[in-house]
């Protein structure tokens, strides 16, 4: 609590804003700077991280890292991590953790592989079976965490082991199941026609602009303070530049010169990730459920007293986390064209946690966004892609990956302390 003196100063200084604030860009920028100084870093670490890494890897390996082919690769490598991280955002928002998410993804991939290849199911049926398994896993974890009160760290560690075993049993000892279904394979291996790629860019930019201005109009009509139109224009413009640049890169021909076939266009996984971001962001920011997730993560006791069914909210979050992990598993299987007992293992989970945290989601609960999973996932993908180009030694790679995760967690902890100190 601040001192009495400063508080009484506030009494005389501020008034409840009743007039629309037309602050303009300068005010918005200084407000942003205030937030950053106050420990609310948002996506800044991810953006800085991505820029620095691209420069470093670009200087060290200009011929292999800075190619259109590699950029498309990088998105493919990152997509599963991003989706896994989106699921983890829900769990992390509660202040919980799901260490089993990686092997949940693997289990989903295994079920997909076995039903598709060994039993010849149609792909929608296989995917539905895998997703339902995800719901069941999430429900089981949630029952133990939310109803029985076992720390999620322990429950999900047990599931980490158990699901690894389940995968081995499903796949069969030492086996690898190939995936031959075209629909499943095309997600990670095929690209959108060039025209459709541009259409996607247009829809994303126009959609974002529409909702920004529509929200502003509703507020204006209601007589509430609104940001200046110039601020919105800058936001929309910045998004447009980034989206158009990325799509343009993906539209380039990525084969070596004189190659027999042309490979260009946006990989099909990109619209899938965009759609997930839109739907899940809507769920978190515009519905009661989302609001209650933040409330439970911020102060579970306050949420309970406000009449929110805390165990139900937790259960839904764990189910969403595990189901999205299954989606990530399907992407992994599609990318590898096969499922093996190591699918979803190794660093997959830590990459996903790292992605969420680097993107700005707090490990302490109550702070985070779906888009964090994408921005953070991009940084992680750059590391996962660039590091093997720079060094072949996997020992060095492991150590660097561990350090990156620690660095992200430190940024989170420090910004939290700053936030507590400045009262944000």
């Amino acid at each position: 609590m601040s001192t009495t003196q400063s508080d009484s100063a506030q009494v005389s200084q501020f008034d409840l804003e009743t007039t629309p604030g037309q602050g303009g860009i300068g005010e918005a920028a200084s407000g942003y700077w205030e937030r950053i100084k106050g420990g609310d870093l948002g996506a800044l670490p991810a953006v800085i991280g991505a820029v620095v890494l691209v420069i470093v890897f670009g200087i060290m390996e200009p011929d292999s890292f800075l190619t259109e082919q590699n950029f498309a690769n990088l998105l493919n490598q990152g997509a599963a991590i991003m989706v896994l991280a989106m699921g983890l955002v829900f769990v992390l928002l509660l202040g919980e953790i799901d260490l089993s998410a990686g092997f949940t993804a693997g289990t989903g991939a295994a079920i997909l592989g076995v039903t598709l290849t060994n039993h010849g199911w149609a792909w929608p049926l296989s995917i539905a079976a895998a997703l339902l398994t995800g719901v069941a896993i999430g429900l089981a974890i949630a029952l133990l965490v939310a109803r029985l009160g076992i720390p999620s760290f322990v429950v999900s560690l047990a599931f980490f082991l158990g699901l690894q075993g389940a995968m081995l049993l499903i796949i069969g000892e030492g086996g690898t199941i190939p995936i031959r279904d075209d629909a499943v394979l095309s997600v990670m291996n095929k690209n959108m026609p060039v025209a459709l790629g541009w259409l996607l860019a247009l829809i994303v930019i126009a959609g974002f602009a529409f909702f920004q201005f529509w929200a502003m109009r509703t507020r204006k009509k209601a007589g509430l303070p609104t940001p200046a139109i110039s601020v919105l224009a800058v936001k929309v413009g910045a998004l447009a530049v980034v989206v158009l640049a990325l799509i343009w890169l993906l539209q380039q021909e990525r084969q070596r010169p004189n190659a027999p076939i042309v490979i260009q266009g946006v990989p099909w996984v990109v619209p899938l990730v965009v759609a997930l971001v839109v739907v899940l962001t809507f769920l978190l920011m515009r519905t009661s459920f989302g609001r209650h997730v933040y409330a439970v993560g911020g102060n579970a006791e306050a949420a309970r007293r406000a009449g929110i069914n805390v165990p139900n909210i937790k259960t839904l979050c764990f189910i969403l986390g595990s189901t999205l992990a299954i989606v990530a598993g399907i992407l992994l299987a599609s990318r590898d064209n096969s499922v093996s007992p190591t699918t979803g293992g190794a660093q997959t989970l830590l990459y996903a946690v790292g992605a969420a945290v680097i993107g700005g989601t707090s490990l302490f609960g109550g702070r985070g966004r779906i888009v964090d999973a994408v921005t953070g996932g991009l940084v992680v993908a750059i590391i996962a892609n660039g590091l093997p180009l720079v060094t072949q030694k996997s020992g060095v790679q492991f150590i660097i990956n561990g350090l990156v995760l620690l660095l992200a967690a430190s940024v989170d902890a420090i910004s939290r302390r700053r936030a507590a100190a400045t009262g944000r």
């Binding site: 609590m1 009495t4 009494v11 501020f14 507020r219 609001r291 993560g297 102060n299 009449g307 109550g366």
Partner: protein, 268 residues
């Protein structure tokens, strides 16, 4: 401060008659009578363990009464849970605030009872109503309704918690030690707000340990002593010393429990 004159008093909003409550072998409330009138601040005072918290938790529906009668606006009612209490128009502001630091003022005020249009949250309507409520309470100390509660001072947070309680056309607001953690200026700010609630026609119950608060805003003072209602008196009829005697001994002169009762209560 006291505006209501004896004889002009309005009928009680809430009346408890012969309330008993035990937790196992511990008889926490014994034959408690308690009245709250609209437009008045009723202070509920008593030493630690006197039964204040139990009494309000029973009114809030968190614990059921063992026996006794509850009259709300003259009608006998039963309260089986917090939702029943809310439906009657009873709101409680807890001592430890129960706000979510990571949400803004509007989100906190509507937490658990969000307004919708379709399946989406109706943010503009919520912000408008939150603003109107704060204005009706003459709250002018918030910079923006969209700032996170974590950036507010203790007094401002208490203000938000109280505003949340009056947002729902509530009739009775119970405040559990609202000034316990506040500095001098902030306490003043909150007490003014408490007074305004009553002046707006609400029944207000103020639980507090602070005699200054009691003497400053209360119209009526109810003193619990070891689970019994020692006395409920008009604030202007007693002085500070008498209230403290009621709290510590259950009686003061000819007000309060009979000597024998007080002694028995002490034994129990």
């Amino acid at each position: 401060m006291t505006q209501a004159v004896e004889g002009q008093q309005r009928a009680p909003l809430l009346s408890l008659r012969g309330i008993n409550k035990s937790f196992g072998a511990v008889h926490v409330l014994r034959d408690v009578d308690f009245d709250v009138r609209p437009g008045e601040v009723t202070a509920l005072v008593g030493d630690n363990g006197a039964g204040k918290s139990t009494l309000i938790k029973c009114i809030a529906g968190i614990h059921p009464f063992d026996d006794g009668e509850i009259l709300f606006e003259g009608q006998p009612v039963t309260i089986h849970g917090p939702k029943d209490a809310n439906a009657l128009g009873i709101e409680i502001v807890y001592q430890d605030l129960a706000l979510c630091d990571n949400l803004d003022v509007v989100h906190n005020m509507f937490l658990g009872r969000e307004l919708h249009s379709g399946i989406t949250l109706n943010e503009t309507e919520m912000e408008k109503r939150a603003g109107d409520t704060l204005k009706s309470l003459s709250v002018r100390t918030l910079r923006s309704l969209r700032q996170n509660v974590s950036s507010l001072s203790g007094g401002q947070r208490q203000t938000v918690a109280i505003a949340r309680a009056v947002l729902w056309n509530s009739k009775l607001v119970i405040l559990d030690e609202p000034t316990a953690a506040l500095g001098v200026a902030q306490t003043e700010q909150v007490l003014n707000l408490v007074r305004r609630l009553a002046d707006n026609g609400l029944g207000v119950v103020l639980i507090t340990h602070n005699m200054n608060d009691v003497m400053q805003v209360a119209d009526s003072i109810a003193t619990l002593f070891l689970g019994q209602m020692a006395a409920q008196v008009r604030a202007k009829d007693v002085n500070n010393t008498q209230v403290i005697e009621l709290i510590t001994a259950g009686r003061s002169g000819d007000i309060g429990l009979k000597p024998r009762e007080a002694a028995e209560a002490g034994v129990a």
